[in-house]
């Protein structure tokens, strides 16, 4: 959790707004620091988190989480975190016997059609079952990242359907939040990726877009972050967009206005 980003977004773990879809998007840079932010943010906010991690291994998220002050291992033991490790499951799905239903079963299929098993997994993970579960404030779905699904042969429409189902279930019915990361392929002429990105931008309430600097690589400024509020509330911020530059440090990220990097002042 980066306190500076919380200030910018006017959010804090004590009062996280329910029913929101936050879209994280990165173009020509790596936006994974945003994923780490939201993971630690919601774990600190005592939310029940379902994390679909397709990019890195559990230990990676765990070690970075510890730097940000949360332990994924304990969260998982307490039942607060449901972690789907994509890389490990891919190997399981691919080499183990057939027949068992697995959230990532589409990996085996010649024509990957639907993400229904994955949706079922998310729904079961976040559905409150007993009194003990009620200890967690609200359910949160975190996906890192949706673009990987495209690479695994799922169509853009299927991914949009998946997000829509999740939104209906998590955001509306359970009053929770969804945070998802997608890559902006930029000039790579990736039609599917463009369809996905546009579709998601249309659905989401808040878009955080991390971009590499147009002028190229720089040691003191790692990129810029655009914040776009699309929510009805708060009214003052509707449709407002802000741009900041950021520098990633060992345990946090510092944000500053454009051109106001401490290194150049």
């Amino acid at each position: 959790m980066f306190p500076e980003l919380n200030d910018l977004l006017n959010a804090s773990p004590d009062r996280a707004e329910p029913g929101k879809l936050t879209l994280l998007c990165d173009a020509e840079t790596d936006g994974s620091f945003l994923v780490h932010h939201f993971l630690s943010f919601y774990l600190k906010a005592d939310c029940k988190v379902c994390f679909v991690a397709l990019v890195q291994s559990f230990s990676h998220y765990n070690i970075v989480g510890q730097k940000l002050g949360v332990s994924l291992t304990t969260a998982r033991e307490r039942g607060q975190l449901v972690f789907l490790e994509g890389l490990r499951s891919a190997v399981d799905v691919f080499f183990r016997a057939e027949g068992e239903a697995h959230p990532l079963h589409f990996l085996r299929e010649a024509k990957a059609a639907s993400l229904q098993p994955l949706y079922e997994f998310v729904r079961e993970a976040l559905e409150p079952v007993d009194q003990r579960e009620a200890a967690w404030k609200r359910p949160v779905l975190l996906v890192d990242d949706l673009s990987v699904l495209l690479s695994l042969g799922v169509g853009a429409v299927a991914v949009l359907d998946f997000v829509h189902y999740c939104r209906a279930c998590v955001c509306c019915r359970l009053q929770g939040n969804i945070v998802a990361l997608v890559h902006d392929s930029g000039d790579a002429e990736d039609e599917e990726s463009d369809v996905l990105l546009n579709g998601l931008s249309h659905q989401s309430h808040l878009v955080l877009r991390a971009e590499g600097l147009a002028t190229g690589f720089c040691r003191d400024v790692h990129g810029q972050l655009r914040v776009l509020w699309r929510t009805p509330s708060p009214p003052a911020q509707r449709g407002r967009s802000l741009t900041f530059q950021y520098k990633i440090q060992d345990k946090s990220v510092s944000f500053f206005a454009k051109g106001m990097s401490p290194a150049v002042l």
């Binding site: 291994s57 891919a90 042969g153 599917e192 690589f217």
Partner: protein, 382 residues
């Protein structure tokens, strides 16, 4: 810069953020510290394996790419469990060299190798590896090593300066190798035959594997990729690289090298048409491969002829699915060949992607684009 590549872990001192700052810290003390105790200093905390060292940045075990200058660019080396993707240069002149350096380094360090190719027989590839340039002491040690383990131990004891003898010896030298991290190679000579014979390697030659069975279960992957994945998985599982046999005495690293993945010879049509049916084969393969690597003690180098791939979207996806990506661009046939600025060099090396492992940020090196030249013997990056 190439010379600095040997300076070892000291060049990346912990805590310092800027690479420039750390360069000032490379005093004689810092440099000698990790070197004198070799790989063992932190290795004993993790797993002590010859030819590896822990990263000072993220605690990951690193292996050398066989090119100390490239190791330095990549933040010390290639992390175990990750994929290094090399985008081949246009005429495929220089990428096979990096491929061979990677394998040669594995053989010198005593790692197990897995060579996969659809073009050349793996045995032939191994025969053509460059010879390591060891200093005389090492060479003598190496020669005797092959025949007799006992004498080599004695020999290496003689070699060490007297004050280092006081240091506890933590690691047993592997049967063949010098456990040093990263070596230089002489591209004009072939690797000694006995070294190859002493090393452990597995070859995957696609034409041999694919002919046997034709009816596969319907899957979205091309048969060649399925075979290769099954082959890798079998070796990882059988030889305990996944850590499943903790009683195994000596842990080792598996080096996987895959040549020209995605080329038409692999039965993939990404190079032929823009909108092919199984355009997800390659990306799926990479995803499952990365899953295999993350759960085992192995490092992988893949060369991909990206200039042949018609669909730019696939290249972007491949990049996103691998950990480290470097691109080779040779000057052959381009107008840069005659550019006086580049007259001493043979090509450019672009670092496209550096992984973030256990860390928010990655190892920042100052420059992303460097030039390389191939001398008669050495491959130099600067």
């Amino acid at each position: 810069m190439a010379a600095e590549g040997t300076s070892g872990p000291g060049a990346w001192s912990p805590g310092s953020v800027a690479a420039a700052a750390s360069k000032h810290n490379v005093t004689s003390f810092q440099r000698r510290g990790p070197r004198a105790s070799g790989t063992e200093s932190g290795g004993c905390r993790l797993v002590s394996i010859a030819g590896t060292r822990p990263s000072v940045r993220n605690g990951q075990l690193l292996v050398s790419t066989g090119l100390p200058a490239l190791d330095q660019l990549l933040g010390g080396g290639l992390a175990v469990g990750t994929v290094l993707l090399i985008e081949e240069d246009k005429y495929n002149t220089y990428s096979p060299l990096l491929f061979k350096y990677f394998l040669a380094e594995g053989i010198v360090a005593g790692h197990t190798s897995l060579v996969a190719s659809a073009k050349e027989d793996p045995a032939d590839i191994l025969q053509g590896l460059p010879a390591p340039l060891l200093d005389d002491n090492c060479k003598k040690e190496l020669r005797e090593d092959v025949h007799n383990d006992e004498t080599s131990e004695f020999n290496s004891k003689m070699k060490i300066a007297w004050r280092y003898q006081l240091l506890p010896k933590m690691e047993q030298a592997g049967p063949v190798s010098s456990s040093k991290f990263g070596h230089y190679y002489d591209a004009s000579k072939k690797i000694p035959r006995e070294l190859i014979e002493a090393s452990k390697w597995h070859g995957f030659f696609l034409p041999e594997k694919i002919s046997s069975t034709l009816n596969e279960e319907p899957c979205s992957l091309t048969p060649g990729y399925i075979k290769l994945l099954q082959f890798i998985q079998k070796i990882i599982y059988e030889e305990g690289f996944d850590g499943s046999n903790p009683q195994k005495k000596q842990k080792n690293i598996l080096r996987i090298a895959i040549q020209s993945l995605g080329s038409p010879l692999w039965g993939d049509d990404v190079c032929c048409t823009k909108n092919c049916d199984n355009s997800h084969s390659l990306t799926k393969f990479l995803f499952v491969l990365r899953g295999l690597l993350r759960t085992s003690l192995s490092a992988c180098l893949i060369t991909v002829p990206t200039h042949l791939i018609q669909n730019k979207a696939i290249i972007a996806r491949i990049t996103n699915l691998s950990d480290t990506v470097i691109h080779l661009e040779s000057f052959i046939g381009s107008n840069r060949e005659t550019n006086p600025l580049y007259k001493d060099y043979h090509g450019l090396i672009h670092i496209r992607q550096i992984p973030r492992l256990n860390n928010l940020m990655y190892d920042v090196s100052d420059v992303k684009d460097l030039a390389f030249k191939l001398k008669r013997k050495l491959f130099i990056i600067e």
